[in-house]
Symmetry: C2
Subunit: 538 residues, 2 copies
């Protein structure tokens, strides 16, 4: 199992082991046991050495039991090297680390061998908090009470221990050899994981309990790994900008490129970072849910049963689609919706205003209690035996999301006086980023009209950034530098947005010059254009 890592990374893992054969005590070297070990470690470059008071006695006992031939495990902290373990002298015991992406809907765990720098295992699990609150806002409200915060935290810890236990067991590795954990998530998830009160995240003026978190130990959080393993939770930049995106910046390498790049992460919110090695600007806004398949009546997350790709015959208005998991469809996920709206628009089913063309007399277009709708799949074809339709209301909701997305991109670029054409790399994070077809997203005016090879799907940038941290401790410093360098623009209070937003509500936009590559279909006229599925982003 591999994970492609940038070649600029330093090979300096967060946690190191060192095997020591100490000079034996004697009348001419009567240094105390602990001081002897400390001296050797400091001579080996681990300076200063920190030790937990509760560990001291055990470490000294190991040193004696092993007759001063020991292997030590140390982890870097902001204050020095913390001694995690002192045990028998050995060169090949595994030294493991865990990277964790705490997503609102999914938790992803990466088990990494810090010696061979190999990804040993990756596992994902649905976020166990979903039953406590489908979306993050519900969970934040739920977390107002201390006991509920404990419930939310415990659910994550339990899921952690179950998933990690499974990965470890499958490989017959001892959990006590997991010596480091790097965790990233959005601000709310980070709060939940650490048991912090997230209540003020969701009400003006949107204040997190903490943006920077102290280094924890596994035992503080009841994680079933080495109790002294340090646990690093990526800091937030602001209430809408979490450690997951900081990890994403690392993974995309925006912070070190001469080229101007942009990174977009569509999650609970759309989060955007724009910049290069000299400056970084970030913002986030509530564009997300509909783009990810939420909110819309038959919208769903990208999981088995979701339609993720759609094509429509321009002449017959008959759709063809791809279903995740290859079963019958239950709903439609974000990339499916983008395809659907883009194809409905090209086929003339949707007007520039996003209205469904009910005049054309297609059997695919019906009028429901909720107004005009397009039948994506008939009841015979669906898993639940109900017609899978998308209504004009759904489209309206979706267009607001895509308009918000475009507006965010527009405002942030203008904020720094650049144009879309200045962007050399357009990174789209998340599984979503790997799944959407940029041409479709451009056609509906969600992404700017740039050459297709500008766009890069990065997959789980958050998880990747966390893995990188395990393998390169210099990134602790980078993260702080990035945090300090980022100018965060709070869009929620930016009136400018509203004006931009109105034009972006149209397909693709009220100003077609912004999308020269998009052919605006003739009104009330079916088209015979239709193409094969385009490949997803690489």
């Amino acid at each position: 199992m591999t994970l492609e890592l940038p070649d600029w990374m330093e090979e300096r893992p967060w946690v190191e082991t060192v095997s020591l054969e100490l000079p034996l005590p004697g009348l001419h070297d009567n240094t105390a046991d602990w001081d002897r070990l400390e001296r050797a470690l400091e001579q080996g470059g681990f300076s200063p050495v920190l030790v937990s008071p509760r560990c001291l006695s055990g470490f000294i006992a190991s040193l004696r039991a092993e007759r001063f031939r020991v292997s030590a495990v140390l982890g870097q902290t902001p204050w020095g090297w913390e001694l995690i373990e002192v045990g028998p002298y050995e060169h090949d015991a595994p030294v493991l680390g865990l990277a964790v992406d705490l997503g609102t809907s999914q938790l992803v765990f990466y088990l990494v061998d810090l010696r061979s720098r190999r990804l040993l295992s990756r596992i994902s699990a649905p976020n166990p908090q979903i039953p406590l609150g489908e979306d993050i806002l519900q969970r934040i409200l739920f977390a107002r009470h201390q006991e509920n915060r404990t419930t939310l935290q415990r659910s994550l810890i339990t899921a952690f221990n179950r998933s990690v236990g499974q990965m470890i067991e499958e490989r017959d590795l001892p959990p006590s050899r997991v010596f480091a954990v790097a965790v990233c998530g959005n601000p709310a998830m980070s709060h939940f994981f650490l048991g912090l009160d997230p209540s003020n995240l969701c009400k003006e003026p949107y204040i997190p309990s903490a943006n920077r978190f102290p280094l924890h130990h596994a035992a503080d959080l009841d994680l079933d790994i080495h109790p002294r393993a340090p646990v690093y939770v990526f800091p937030n930049v602001g209430s809408y900008f979490g450690g997951d995106l900081l990890a994403g910046i690392l993974a995309a390498g925006i912070h070190r490129s001469e080229d101007l790049s942009i990174l977009v992460d569509v999650g609970t919110n759309a989060e955007v970072v724009l910049g290069n090695r000299d400056w970084l600007i970030a913002c986030a806004g509530a564009a997300g849910p509909a783009l990810e398949g939420g909110v819309v009546e038959r919208g769903m997350m990208a999981s088995p049963g979701a339609i993720d790709r759609v094509r429509i015959d321009g002449r017959t208005w008959e759709p063809s689609f791809h279903v995740l998991g290859d079963g019958k469809p239950r709903g439609i996920c974000g990339s499916g919706l983008i395809d659907l709206v883009a194809e409905m628009f090209r086929a003339g089913i949707l007007t520039i205003q996003g209205k469904i063309n009910v005049q054309a007399g297609s059997p695919r277009v019906i009028v429901t209690d909720d107004g005009p709708a397009y039948i994506v799949a008939h009841r015979e074809e669906t898993e639940d035996g109900r017609d899978l339709v998308v209504t004009e209301v759904d489209v309206g909701i979706f267009l607001k999301s895509k308009a918000a997305m475009y507006t965010i991109l527009n405002v942030i670029t203008r904020k720094v006086g650049v144009t879309f054409q200045d962007l050399k790399h357009f990174y789209v994070a998340g599984a979503f980023g790997n799944r959407i077809d940029p041409e479709m997203a451009i056609r509906i005016g969600m992404l700017p009209d740039l050459p297709p090879d500008t766009f890069h799907g990065l997959g789980n940038t958050a998880g990747k950034g966390a893995v990188m941290l395990l393998l390169d401790r210099s990134l602790f410093g980078r993260i702080e530098e990035i945090r300090k360098r980022i100018t965060y623009v709070e869009l929620n209070v930016n009136l400018e947005l509203m004006n931009e937003f109105r034009g972006a509500l149209f397909l693709p936009h009220t100003d077609p010059r912004l999308f020269p590559s998009v052919r605006i279909p003739q009104r009330d006229c079916r088209t015979d254009e239709s193409g094969p599925f385009h490949g997803a982003l690489p």
Copy 2:
């Protein structure tokens, strides 16, 4: 209650409080709660701020509950300022610290107001480990087993909690306002207090488990004060040279004086430091027990029932003595033994070789099963109804101790190429130091023949040094400097000692030129010299 502190101390207590009125969060200052507090603390000079992961959530809750008007308590650590407490805004809540001297026979506790820099209370208690081992060696042997180490540690913790609880309660102060603890003791006592294995302290090559101890929190040791109060245990220099003596160096101020000074602490061992602000040399040796009243048949610690001062009529050989507690005598303590031997020598009862003159026909001199002896108190005068005698064997044992003491002083001065006459200050630590009469100690050749005003009894220098640390955090650095600057000479393995030692076994010495002020009595001849009690050292 006062404790005289040196005027060179900086008024920078180890633990500080600061009252903060933070700017309220708003859309234009949406820093996270914790980061807001951290920022304010750092602006106030507390940088960097450390926080325990387990405290973070509670501190943030306090901040919110108090509407961003709080008082914070911070303690300095080697890595920065640890945040101990965040509570209601107030200016006059007490900020208390504890200094503890862990003596082999006695524990002394000092309760200090860190704001007013006043000593509020001092209390002492017998070391509760005495039933587990009268002397330190017995306790070290007892501590070979882990469970016994726990017993030894628990006994100290229990005594701590009882004594501190009493002091706190008497003054109606809340234990949770005790925010700092400075502890010093000899290496074995420091090991016992921290639950470390002392086994190797007492066998060649005499290796402590640790010389430097990590900063503990009160909760690590189950101390019933503020759980996050930092607990500093003074480091050792070597296996015979503990934190108590480092504290003593601070208290005597040797490390900052231009003058050459010497500090002698007679405890389980005789510990000696010689030097000035440019250099320090230290050694320790097994001179102690007999000087303190141990080992000798009727020897005892300086406690009620002990004869602590003796005069003998040169003509009649009749003694007069002072008993601690003013009851009947049970035994004789260190200063009493020094007086006794010195007076027996002057009266001609003892020869230069330390033999008892049985020829003179005094009823005070008898021959017991253990050989010749001097009756200090007849059975009618003693508490236990037995004659209180000192035998020639006792004197022999005692002379070995005093010879060891002198030899140590002799060797250490010669080691650095100075003479006794170069010593401007001769500090004698401990209650012992306050009790002995330097003229008597010179007469028996235990202390060098210097003008009496060279000698200063310092009382409990260890406790005083610990109090000083509470009130001046710059001393943390000084202690490390002193540790590094001290050259420690291991006398136990120094053959040179043996040669010096032989001459010092005599009264006062084989070379009388070393003690010009001491008049050598005529052999077999009673003298009519006798004087009043001399005052003890100031």
